[in-house]
Symmetry: C2
Subunit: 319 residues, 2 copies
C-alpha cells in the first residue's frame, strides 16, 4: 500500500465539507476562496516525538492536539478556523495508529467546521506538522501589540495542569483523568477569541507558559505589567501541589496550557463576567498593564517571584 | 539562545516584502490579503533526512529544495507564488548550517517574490516542512483532471537526472556539477505554469517520476495514454547511461525531476514551440492521450516497456 492509499483510507473523511473549498485533497494544490473583506490568518506548528509528546502517547489525543495547537493560535487573533493541511511523518504505517490519530484530528476539525485540504505522508522519525488557516474581518484581528497602561490582564481556564501532568509522568507517577485531558486534549479557546473581537487590546495564546508568553505580549506592546499570583486561575490539583512546595514556576512557566491571555480596558471588567458566563469558560483578571518594561509577579505577602526568563527553550546551548 | 533568537537572526530577512502581508513573522498568526477574484492555492511538503536527502547534504541546497518542491506544486496549478511558512526541525542549532540553509531558501524566495510569513523551529531529527501559498484567478487553475483523448502530452526540461545522481551517490561514485544541481537545486517551472493558463487541459508536476505522476493525471482525467520513449527529453548523461543498460525506469520512475507534465490540444503544438523559445525551457511532446485506461510506453522497435506501477513508495509493507 502506498502513502496515497493510506491517505485515502484514513484522511478522506476528515473534517468538514465547506463550500469555500474549490478543490480539496488529491491534486498538486488545494484551491480555496477567501471572502471579500476577510483577511487570511495562518499558523504552522510541529510536534516532535520525544520533545512535544511521548512516543507511546495515545494517538487519538495526538491527532486532537496537532490541530488544537493551531486552533489556539487562530483563537489568539480572533480568527475563525477554516482549513488545515497536515504533514505526518511516521516510522511505519501502523493502521491502528493512523485510524486513532485521524479520529482525534477529525473530531476536533468537525467541531470547529475545519476542512482538511491537503497533506503529506512520509516515512521518518514520528512528527506532525499542521498549518491552520482562518478568516478574520480586515483590521479586526487582535495582536500581541496594543496593550496600554491601565488595561486589565485576563486569562482563560486554568494554568499549569499540563505541566504538572508532564512532571508526574516524567517521574513515573500516575495522573488523574483531568490532568491527562489537559495535557493530551487541550481545548482551543476559539469561541472566546471570536467573542473578544473589538474588546481585547492585545492577545496571545499560552503555549510556552504565562511568564514567557505574557512577556512576548509586553515586549510587542512596549509596556510592563504587574500580576498577582494569588489571583492566577488554578485547578484543585495545582492548588494542592502549590500548598506543598509553593513552586510558582509550575503555573507560570511549564507551558502547554493553550489558554488565552489578553488585555481589556478597565471599563470592560463587567463585560468579562458576562462573557465567561455565556461561554461557560473561566475568565480571571490577574493583573494590570503598567508603563515601562518587564513583568512583576507579586506573592500574597507583597514580595515578588522571579519566573524563568524564557519558556521551554529548544536550543539552550546555542551561542 | 532561544529558538526565537535563532529565527530572528536567520530568517527575518528571508524572502521578499509584499504589500499583501498585513502581519508577518512574530505573532500567533500571519495576516494575509487575497485580492478579490483570486483563489488561494496551497501545498505542504516535508523533506526528511535519510529519506528525501542525505543528512550531510549541502544545507544551502536543502534550503533551496525545501521551497522549490512547493513552488513546483504551485506551478502545476498555474498559480503565482505569494507566501510560505517553514517548520524546521533540527538536532542542534548549528549556526553555520542555519545561515547556509536560510541563504538557499531566501535566494529562491526572492527570485519568485515570495514572502516568508511564519514558521516553527523545534529540536528533533532533521526535517523540513514548507507550506507554499499562491494566487490564481478564479477558474483559471489547471488540475490533473481535464485531459481529453487526442491531447498532446508534453514535458518540460529533462527526466531522470536527479535519479541518476542519487544512484551514483548511493554507489559511492562522484557526480557531475550538472547532476548535482539537478538533484539539489531543482528549478520550479513557475513561469511555464503561468504561461500555460488557458492552454493546458491538465497538468501535474513530476516528483515521483513520469510514469507514476502521469498515471495520476490519467486516473483523474479518466483517460489512457501512449508515450514514445525515444521522444523523452534526456540530458547527455542519461542518454549515455541508457546506451549502456537501456533501463528506461531511470527517466520514467526515479522521481525528483520537478518538471511539469501537461496536456494541450493538437492545435496548440506550434504555440508550444514559441513558448519554449520565449521561456528558454525545453518543451517536448512525448505522446498522446487515448480513450480508455492506463499508460503504454512504446520503445523504438514498437514493443512496450512496463514501468513500475508506482513511484517511490514510503510504505511498501503496509497492508
Amino acid at each position: 500500500m502506498s502513502e496515497f492509499d493510506l491517505i485515502r483510507r484514513h484522511f478522506s473523511a476528515v473534517g468538514s465539507r465547506r463550500t469555500d473549498v474549490s478543490l480539496g485533497v488529491g491534486d498538486d494544490c488545494a484551491l480555496l476562496r477567501v471572502p471579500q473583506g476577510q483577511e487570511l490568518a495562518v499558523s504552522i506548528d510541529t510536534l516532535v516525538a520525544g520533545v512535544h509528546f511521548l512516543p507511546d502517547c495515545d494517538p487519538e489525543g495526538l491527532g486532537h492536539k496537532a490541530l488544537a495547537v493551531g486552533l489556539s493560535d487562530l483563537a489568539a487573533m480572533g480568527a475563525e478556523p477554516a482549513w488545515v493541511t497536515l504533514a505526518l511523518t511516521l516510522p511505519d504505517a501502523d493502521e491502528g495508529w493512523l485510524r486513532a490519530f485521524s479520529r482525534g484530528f477529525a473530531r476536533l476539525a468537525h467541531r470547529h467546521g475545519v476542512a482538511l485540504v491537503g497533506g503529506d505522508l512520509t516515512r521518518g522519525p514520528l512528527s506532525v506538522t499542521a498549518q491552520v488557516q482562518g478568516l478574520v474581518p480586515e483590521a479586526a484581528a487582535m495582536r500581541r501589540r496594543g496593550a496600554r497602561p491601565g488595561d486589565l490582564i485576563c486569562v482563560s481556564g486554568t494554568l499549569g495542569d499540563a505541566g504538572l501532568a508532564l512532571r508526574r509522568l516524567g517521574a513515573g507517577e500516575s495522573i488523574s483523568e483531568y490532568l491527562r485531558d489537559r495535557l493530551e486534549r487541550p481545548t482551543p479557546r476559539v469561541e472566546l477569541g471570536l467573542a473578544l473581537r473589538g474588546a481585547a487590546t492585545a492577545m496571545i495564546d499560552l503555549s510556552d507558559g504565562l511568564a514567557a508568553d505574557l512577556g512576548h505580549l509586553l515586549a510587542a506592546s512596549e509596556v510592563g505589567a504587574e500580576i498577582r499570583l494569588p489571583d492566577l486561575p488554578l485547578s484543585p490539583e495545582i492548588r494542592d501541589r502549590l500548598a506543598t512546595d509553593a513552586d510558582w514556576d509550575l503555573p507560570l512557566a511549564s507551558g502547554d496550557d493553550y489558554e488565552l491571555c489578553f488585555c481589556v480596558p478597565e471599563q470592560a471588567r463587567a463585560r468579562m463576567g458576562t462573557l465567561a458566563e455565556r461561554l461557560g469558560i473561566g475568565l480571571r483578571v490577574i493583573g494590570r498593564i503598567r508603563p515601562g518594561k518587564g513583568l512583576r509577579c507579586l506573592l500574597e505577602n507583597g514580595s515578588t517571584w522571579e519566573p524563568p526568563r524564557a519558556g521551554y527553550n529548544h536550543f539552550p546551548d546555542a551561542g
